[in-house]
Amino acid sequence: MLLAAIGSGFVMALLAPGLTRRLGRAAGWVFAILPVTLTLLFAGAWSAAADGAPITTTLAWVPELGLSLSFRADGLSLLFALLITGIGALVVLYGGSYLHGDRDLGRFYSWLFVFMAAMLGVALADNLLLLFVFWELTSLSSYMLIGFGHDRAPARQAALQALLITGGGGLALLAGLVLLGVGAGTFEISALLGQGAAARIDPLYVPAVGLILVGAFTKSAQFPFHFWLPNAMEAPTPISAYLHSATMVKAGVYLLLRLSPALGGTELWTLVVGGVGATTMVLGAVLALAQTDLKRLLAYSTVSALGLLTLLIGIGTPRALEAAVVFLLAHALYKGALFLVAGILDHETGTRDITRLGGLWRGLPITAAAAGGAALSMAGLPPLFGFISKELAYEAALAGPGGPALIAVVVIAGIGFVVVAAQVGLAPFWGRRPTDEGVAHAHEPGVSLWLGPMILSLASLGAGVFAGAVGGWVGPAVASATGTPVTVRLALWHGLNPALWLSLLTLAVGGLLFAARRPIRNGLSRLNPVLGADLGFQAGLGGLNAVAQAQTRFFQNGYLRFYLLMVVATTILLVGGTLVSQIGVGWPLDVLDVQAHEVVFGGLILVAALVAITSRSRLSAIAALGAAGFGVSLIYLWYGAPDLAMTQFLIESLTVILFVLVFYHLPHFTRLSSPGARARDIVIALLAGGLMTALVLTVLAVPLFPSISGYYGAVSAAEAHGRNVVNVILVDFRGLDTLGEITVLGIAATGVYALLKLHPRNPAVGPVYDSARSEDGS
């Protein structure tokens, strides 16, 4: 069932472009059927998970690599799955109207469904590597969706940035997961959780956890990787709501929650996860204050929220994990709603600049109501669900290991939420209505647009009011994160405890800051670029390009002699180095065995070669080359190889003729190299020659095995019907070599013929090239 649930998304992705064209306006409503069905399905699986017997599916995929198709729907997985499909249904519906008439709507749905399926995969996978497969797919579909408006350069750049950051983190994650799996001896998550993996993979724990954290932090936009998320607001707003606030960015958080029973609880974990979370949280809260764009404002506050989640996971007490799960749910509900509201405002007024918005409640009363609900939840006011989650977070901080500093940073985040909530959910609808044409005449959108935020806001309210029920409901999810069964009791009223006082403080300070938002914004906007790791990223890209260009210009410089030099030098180093270090050069042979005319033959060849390379005249060089060849054939003749001698002699003659025929057309020799280059080349050449001499001597000095040739002498006449053993080898024993050899000749002849006859300016052969198809780049 789980496999089918995920697979259905991918199938839908394939069908979406065609269906979109057919369905027209109804597309959003029809497409929403799938996520709604899935939501019901997952809701139905809840009781099994609550009973501690979650639904599982396992299929083999690539056993050699430890990758299997195993899925498991426990409490945490189901909580995520429900968020994905539930909010997914609203976004699918919303997107149809939001992008109505866009020619790329079909592609939008395709990638949206790919994302949805992949995200479900992340949530439900019970195999580390399988989880990674879906993890990467979410990065990929996110890339495609951020770059939806790819005609504009900023969209392309933002998409690239998001992909590189999450993709790079993904690679770290892969290494970390493999280390973990290899160390623990299993890649199945459920098998891993129960066994105290942290201890088992002891020497590898630090690198494994470090790498996994990098993966989680990039995905969840933690400092110092946070900057991609605000830039990703280039995506259409439904995408921002869905991927970049409610679901995908929480994948990192999900992973931390998922693995925290196995890997958490160590000092390293608390310090790093908690520290990074706290930093991100404060940074996001502060940077949000500098924004005027609705979506960027929301994005920075999402960064802050993700930081809070990470911090809570870092604290790692059952109370903190409970707070994390509850806040995760609360945040998904209100932030999703606010993003969708931002989209409506953008859609209806044509601007997202908060300084230009105001008094819109008259035109958009329903939207204003939805926005208000979500904003109050975000600000943490009772009776909304945000209030409960904030109280829990404060309680966790109060009981946590960090003392006043920890409490302070959590409160700062809370204050940030209040300010952002007020700016996004309240300010645009109340107050003075600007004279701006578009804003003044804005009116309520169609139901498919406001339905989403309205449902989410009502959910925030409902969850707050019926907190007790919700508490029972998130219990299994918290249990997955703590690794032990827990009972979660949620209630609006916790008594007059410190958390409540902190809440009041938060509201008060938040209200003050909201009132002073303009001067704060002006002050901070000067700070913004300095903090933006964005600049570092751009500088990194620039540096990468510069290094790449420089090294390529150096190595691939176009000089053939440089290329040859590198190869020869490599040969000398590798082969010569091994020869010298492994054996040393042998010198075993009897010098006295040398006969006088052998020295003469050898001398003849060497002198001829010397003439060939020093001659200033082409013809004498060719003649000398021929002489060297004839010298070689004399050696063959002298040492019992008449066939070789004959062939070499004939071939040499033919080669000389060909050289003459061709050189007739070519220019005279000229001295082109500088004396320095010549000297260097002479040294290299002598080294290369010396190496070959040394190799020959060494092989002669260290004979390993006798030749197999005796066999040929023995059977050549009797079985192969020939007495010339060389010829019999050529046409029989090794006939296949000869077949290849004459094929080479045939190809060469074809090539010679083609090179001499076929060229772009020869009008005699066929039509002249169609210039568009010429490969010359002209």
């Binding site: 060497l606 050899e741 010679v752």
Partner: protein, 115 residues
Amino acid sequence: MEIVLAFVIGGLYAAAVYMLLRRSLVKMLIGLALLSHAANLLIFAVARLTRGRPPIISLGAEDLASPYADPLPQALILTSIVISFGVMAFALALAYRTYRTTGTDDLDAMRGSDR
């Protein structure tokens, strides 16, 4: 004798490498030709030399009379000579066409495909 040949081979390789490193297309071709001589001679030499005893079974005999020159390297060299010939013929044609197309035999001027 192998000692003499070892140095002849080294000398041929050195000459070949030196020519390959020239800027002139024509000289490079001569380098390639020298390279194949060197390689063939190397195969011949390391298979150990036998003076004047070709591997041909006398008429009526069943077997090669020892000592005889090793026939296998001879067959290999024959194959290699023939292949080198084909390659050389092609290289010459290539040089001709290259010169005709680019108007120069200076290899340093042929960097267009690397830019």
